[in-house]
Amino acid sequence: MEAMRRVQQQSTEMIEDLFQAEYVGMVRLAYTLVGNNAEAEEVVQDGFAEVHRRFGEIRQPGAYLRTTVVNRCRSVLQRRRVMQRHPVVAPTDLPNSAAELWDVLNKLNEDQRLAVVLRYYGQYRASEIASVLDMPAATVRSHIRRGLAILREELEQ
């Protein structure tokens, strides 16, 4: 019992370190994907709980957290598309240019949007996005290329 308490304390300390380093960045990333603060925080907090739950199994908690957060955002987007009840509402008070980008991002399919945001906001390489989205790097590059073509066409009109 004492040993179990000690392990729990150690894992909680590690999660607290991870929280200090990653929480704000993860919420910002999630927000660029789901456009809703409450949902962004929900997926990120769930992500931290998931990391804690799998504490003894994972070697790179930060990388695992990022993958978990992106996949949970993906689930939120898929659920919205299926239910058609919660259309993505644009964040308020955005500069015109950013509001325009937001609208066009919503015209991309889900994989294109995820790939573009992870590349341009997260600064991830194609190989890293491939790991997070569980798809070949060539497919990621294709999504980015197609997504950019749509963005270019729509934004430069």
Binding site: T12, F19, G25, E41, P95
Partner: protein, 279 residues
């Protein structure tokens, strides 16, 4: 980077700026973790398949499958008014909707600069793993500084003897690296390790989980946790005390040595009895 790239980056930054992380987020996460502890996920028991399924079982399964197909067919005819309608085919680019999040088992390490990361570098991780798994003194010395010290003593402890490596082998001591994060700076890593030995296994003790810290200097380990190279390798010390052998163990195991390993092995029966009594 062209103008479009710059614009996308800047505008995504503006969008991200609208995120307002809650000041009570940490408390919320703690609540979620506490909930997990209070209500852990049910354990799934994997049953071995019957290597010799009987004819009766096969017949039963075939019957059940046929009944299911018949029921589904009847339902389909009822709901579609008996007319055939083509199945919808989804776009191959769009994955089938899923109610549950997909989580990759263990993503590889990333080296991106944003968002900020607290992971140790792959090089540091490899150095720690080399330190923990080496059974050769030259290999150990290759990953530590010449003035490396153990954390608890804070005194220079050059690894110039292979005594502890030999005893590690004798004791079957294994230190498994579970996870590592930077501990305040790039030159310090806080890691979670699991420590087990053939003794703890023989005594029916679980591996011991410990949080340990490694410091680095010029890419080499300058401070390592004494627990790795000391005698605090598992719960043997606690068990020895319960068996009335605490003083003798301390005398034999002042350092992790062949003498220590031999003492533990010689008293394994008494230690096992004490371990059994303490459970």
């Amino acid at each position: 980077m062209n103008q479009l790239d710059r614009r996308i980056e800047a505008d995504l930054g503006h969008i991200a700026d609208r995120a307002t992380p809650s000041p009570t987020a940490w408390e919320s996460i703690q609540d979620r973790i506490a909930e997990q502890v209070d209500h852990p996920e049910p354990e799934i028991t994997m049953l071995k398949p019957n290597p010799n399924p009987s004819r009766r079982n096969r017949t039963w399964m075939l019957g059940a499958a046929a009944a299911t197909l018949l029921a589904l067919g009847a339902l389909y005819v009822t709901t579609s008014g008996g007319e055939f309608t083509p199945l919808e085919v989804t776009d191959a680019d769009e994955p089938a909707p899923s109610a549950t999040p997909t989580v990759t088992a263990e993503p590889p390490p990333t080296t991106t600069s944003a968002p900020p990361s607290a992971e140790v570098s792959p090089a540091a991780l490899a150095t720690i793993e080399e330190f923990l798994s080496s059974t050769d003194i030259d290999a150990v010395n290759a990953v530590v500084t010449k003035s490396a010290i153990a954390d608890s003593t804070q005194s220079a402890l050059a690894i110039d003897t292979d005594g502890w490596l030999v005893s590690r082998q004798l004791l079957g001591l294994e230190v498994q690296l579970l996870s590592c994060l930077e501990a305040g700076s790039e030159t310090s890593a806080r890691c979670q390790v699991s420590i087990r030995s053939s003794i703890s296994e023989a005594l029916g003790q679980d591996p011991r989980l410990r949080g340990v810290t490694f410091d680095f200097s010029d890419g080499l380990i300058s401070t390592w946790p004494a627990v790795i190279t000391g005698t605090d390798f598992d719960r043997t010390r606690e068990i020895a005390a319960a068996a009335g052998l605490g003083d003798e163990l301390d005398a034999a195991c002042g350092s992790l040595s062949t003498e220590c390993a031999e003492f533990v092995m010689a008293n394994l029966d008494a230690l096992a009895a004490a371990a059994s009594a303490s459970q």
